[in-house]
Symmetry: C2
Subunit: 314 residues, 2 copies
């Protein structure tokens, strides 16, 4: 049996990424009900909102689900308390040092998976005692590693570095790309962009439409002077690109970013001045579909392409 | 049978990239003798040098080989004349518009493969009448596309866009990564970095050593204001990164680059002031081996990993 399916108690090794402003209880429960793992993105939620989403997810699915917890979240103590009190079975941690929180969560019987983008942090995650890592490449949407290592280069490196299961993320939206990740030694995939544009995503409908219209070159890794983040181009993003090309530093970027831009763009649908985060792979799909259909299409294609690969003649 | 093997008359769908300062007759003939396709990199050769390398390759192998021809090469007429006169069976064209030269080469019975990094240029290559395309992702060494599309995102896109065979390039150095490329629909792989560090490569021994010591984050796509190129970090590269961070434009970069830097770095072994071009995947291998052993290791691992993938249970 697949190690990640066994670890997480799921049917298919397909994980929906926890994403700010996109992945609430509707998406998480739909993915878990479809046989994958749904994740609530806690990074954009106040503690009481997170509690509400966890409770709604539990009411909507009998399957396992997870919460994504950015470790730099200001109210992290409250988030962790909620997660423990509500008996969330799995937590994906990201953006921070897993050393402290892994122990606390695991003591409660919670499975912990940490997101990394290089082998140094993969080893730190192992040391912290996590059950698996998500290895996320340069093509991924949102926050990203400084080394700019692509999924194709990153996965074999991490698989060679750690003994725990590796979940591939970045650039995956289809059965074919899932199969490529498995060819590299991953034991599951984490998919963000395609689910951000699903029917159950809490992203604004205008943002979903813009995601499926994305083309090659429509996203760009930006804000490297602060924290690298992949942006979908719009007026705001072009201001950022311009400022970076002119060599304007951290302070100017922080000023440009201001507050609440991500909510404004992704949740409220301000496609001009909002911050829109999405992966490069948005150029590769063009439909807003129910999450269940996405899981099933990916799984079916994965199995079909695996057979095709098997039957290749040389 | 594999379409690329059939098209090019080779045993294994493993192509050694034509690279400036690294791939002369010794490397090309060794790869062709090992059952792959060896390519002479004409971009760093004067017309009489190219002629010499073609003749030496012909004397050293009875198998097919190719010449890589950057279409912006100043003496391109002379290069094409040499290629035709010496009856080179296959030409890989890059860095330029294939419209004119494809027709001329094909009229002589030469197979033409063009290197692209987006679907727009893939369609232009099909229109020009090429036999196959090399789709090269962001992680590749040397010159690179403006869209920064990674191999994982690029290959399925190009496979969906054209009917001719697609050869994957960028981030490939092993049987596992080759298998990932096939999972994405590629019918062959083109490998640069690993052969740049092979025994038969004409790269300077110090450069080869530096390649195999590369780590995650050691290379960076730079010079975007001129033509994007992936550099291995050294003093020169850091000057470039610094200039770019300060927002110094095209003119400053051209001045910094000066003349003959690539030769100085890669061929003459000036690791401080020379320009060193290599792919991100250099972080994933650590030995200088004979080309034959590289071809065999990759092929053996490819077949083994294909079997493993087949036998996965869910």
């Amino acid at each position: 049996m697949n190690r990640v399916c066994e670890l997480l108690g799921i049917r298919y090794p397909i994980i929906q990424a926890g994403m700010v402003w996109c992945s609430g209880w509707e998406l998480a429960s739909a993915v878990s009900n479809a046989g994958g793992l749904g994740i609530i993105g806690a990074g954009s939620m106040y503690p009481d909102i997170l509690k509400h989403h966890i409770q709604k997810t539990k009411a909507s699915t009998s399957h396992h689900f997870a919460v994504n917890l950015p470790l730099l979240y200001p109210d992290i103590n409250q988030h962790v308390e909620t997660i423990i009190k509500e008996k969330v079975p799995i937590v994906f941690t990201s953006a921070g040092n897993p050393a402290i929180w892994t122990k606390i969560l695991k003591a409660e019987g919670i499975k912990v998976i940490h997101v990394i983008a290089n082998s140094k942090f993969a080893l730190k995650a192992v040391e912290a005692g996590v059950d698996a890592v998500v290895a996320e490449g340069f093509e991924a949407g949102g926050h990203n590693g400084k080394e700019e290592t692509t999924t194709l280069c990153l996965i074999p490196k991490i698989v060679d570095t750690v003994d725990i299961p590796v979940i591939a993320a970045g650039g995956i939206s289809s059965g074919k790309s899932m199969l490529a990740a498995f060819a590299l030694g991953a034991q599951a995939v984490q998919i963000g962009s395609r689910f951000a544009a699903s029917e159950e995503s809490s992203a604004h409908p205008s943002f979903k439409q813009k995601i499926i219209e994305a083309k090659e070159g429509s996203t760009k890794l930006s804000m490297k002077a602060i924290t690298p983040v992949r942006l979908l181009e719009n007026d705001f993003a072009h201001q950022v690109f311009e400022a970076e090309q002119q060599g304007l530093g951290k302070e100017k970027l922080i000023e440009l970013l201001g507050k609440g831009r991500a909510k404004r763009g992704m949740f409220e649908g301000d496609l001009i001045n909002g911050e829109l985060e999405i992966g490069q792979v948005a150029a590769n799909f063009h439909q807003i579909l129910p999450a269940k259909q996405i899981v099933e299409e990916i799984w079916t294609e994965f199995m079909q392409e695996k057979d095709k690969l098997t039957n290749l003649n040389f």
